[in-house]
């Protein structure tokens, strides 16, 4: 099986992201710190990880968000995101 078939997207990370953020952020618009392209967190590419998730930019493949669960800790590395715009109302997403 090709790795492309295995990948999911940011929708699937919604539950884990809700452990970190108060609101749903799958509809939030993230700007890639590496290439500047922007799009919803739901549109980022997720590659399966046993201990967490890595979400990559669909344009340049940079890691934008990493969440790793280790005993006693949830570790978030968002250094691949320069700006995260979170809609205040659920229907705002586009």
């Amino acid at each position: 099986m090709q790795i492309e078939e295995m990948r999911l997207d940011g929708n699937a990370a919604g539950g884990l992201l809700r452990e970190v953020f108060v609101r749903d952020v799958t509809a939030a618009i993230a700007t890639c710190a590496a290439c500047g392209s922007l799009g919803p967190i739901a549109g980022l590419l997720e590659y399966g990880q046993t201990m967490g998730v890595i979400l990559r930019c669909p344009a340049c493949d940079s890691a934008m968000l990493r969440i790793v669960r280790t005993p006693g800790w949830l570790r978030l590395d968002a250094s691949g995101i320069s700006i995260l715009m979170i809609p205040e109302r659920a229907s705002e997403a586009s």
Binding site: E4, R7, N11, A12, G14, V25, T26, A42, E88
Partner: protein
């Protein structure tokens, strides 16, 4: 606008033990679990839940499953496609029985969701079990009064392997009778005798033939196996659709 209503901060996403109240077979490889979830606060069409299985030795496996039932319904329904040799779906499809408990958390997601406030027309494209979150949208749409439904016409293009792999087939055929709804199937592996519908993978010509033209500015939802989602969304953008109005959800590899 200080008085503008802002969505209340949602409650914490806690694991809860749901009770399986009913199980229905939907196709030869998919079945629906009807769940009563304690303190369920409702969901939006298109959202999913996380399901967690814990073995006796403490080993955990977790997967996401889309909700098929409409927001109007109190119990939630998950339709699960059996993927052989997988960790979770064989348990859900073969072992779990009515009366059993199942750990879930949700509802999850704010992107791949639709309600009437988002407008239309709607273009829904599904591959395999990717029909599940779209079914919640279709059922939500179907429960509205006739004038409301007429304002937002819907076209569904559903790609399945064979006639018997089509999930919710009878319900979809019944919905197709409605004037505001157009349901088209394409069968990619085998067709029944006398089949006059489409019998190929979704390509540009098929999309062009059955979907709204870009000038109608439809809101598109595409869900299914990752290769299908990525090719269909790219073709829609190529056909002139606004990328911001093409929402996608990748389900990963296909079953069986």
């Amino acid at each position: 606008m200080p008085n503008e209503p802002v969505a209340a901060v949602p409650p914490r996403l806690d694991w809860r033990v749901a009770t399986v109240s009913d199980i229905r077979d939907e196709s030869r490889s998919a079945r629906t679990l009807v769940l009563d979830v304690p303190q369920w606060a409702g969901h939006r069409a298109g959202q999913h839940v996380d399901v967690r299985l814990v073995a006796e030795d403490g080993y955990q496996a977790q997967r996401s499953y889309s909700i098929a039932s409409p927001p109007e319904q109190r119990s939630i329904e998950l339709t699960v496609e059996r993927i052989n040799n997988a960790e979770v779906s064989p348990y859900l499809c073969d072992t779990l029985a009515a009366g059993d408990g199942l750990e879930v958390r949700g509802p999850i997601g704010g992107y791949f969701v639709w309600d009437f406030s988002l407008g239309g027309p709607l273009l829904l494209v599904a591959g395999g079990s990717g029909i599940v979150p779209l079914m919640s949208m279709l059922r939500h749409h179907a429960l509205a009064d006739a004038p409301t439904r007429a304002r937002i016409p819907v076209k569904l293009l559903y790609s399945a392997r064979t006639w018997n792999d089509i999930i919710y087939r009878q319900e979809l055929q019944a919905l197709d009778e409605r004037p505001e709804l157009d349901v088209r199937f394409t069968l990619t592996r085998d067709v029944p005798p006398g089949w006059t519908g489409y019998s190929r993978r979704i390509d540009r010509a098929l999309l062009e033939a059955v979907s709204w033209p870009a000038s109608e500015k439809p809101l598109a939802f595409v869900c299914g196996p990752t290769p299908l989602v990525e090719s269909v969304s790219a073709m829609l953008v190529d056909l002139g659709h606004d990328p911001a109005r093409v929402r996608t959800e990748r389900f990963g590899p296909t079953g069986s």
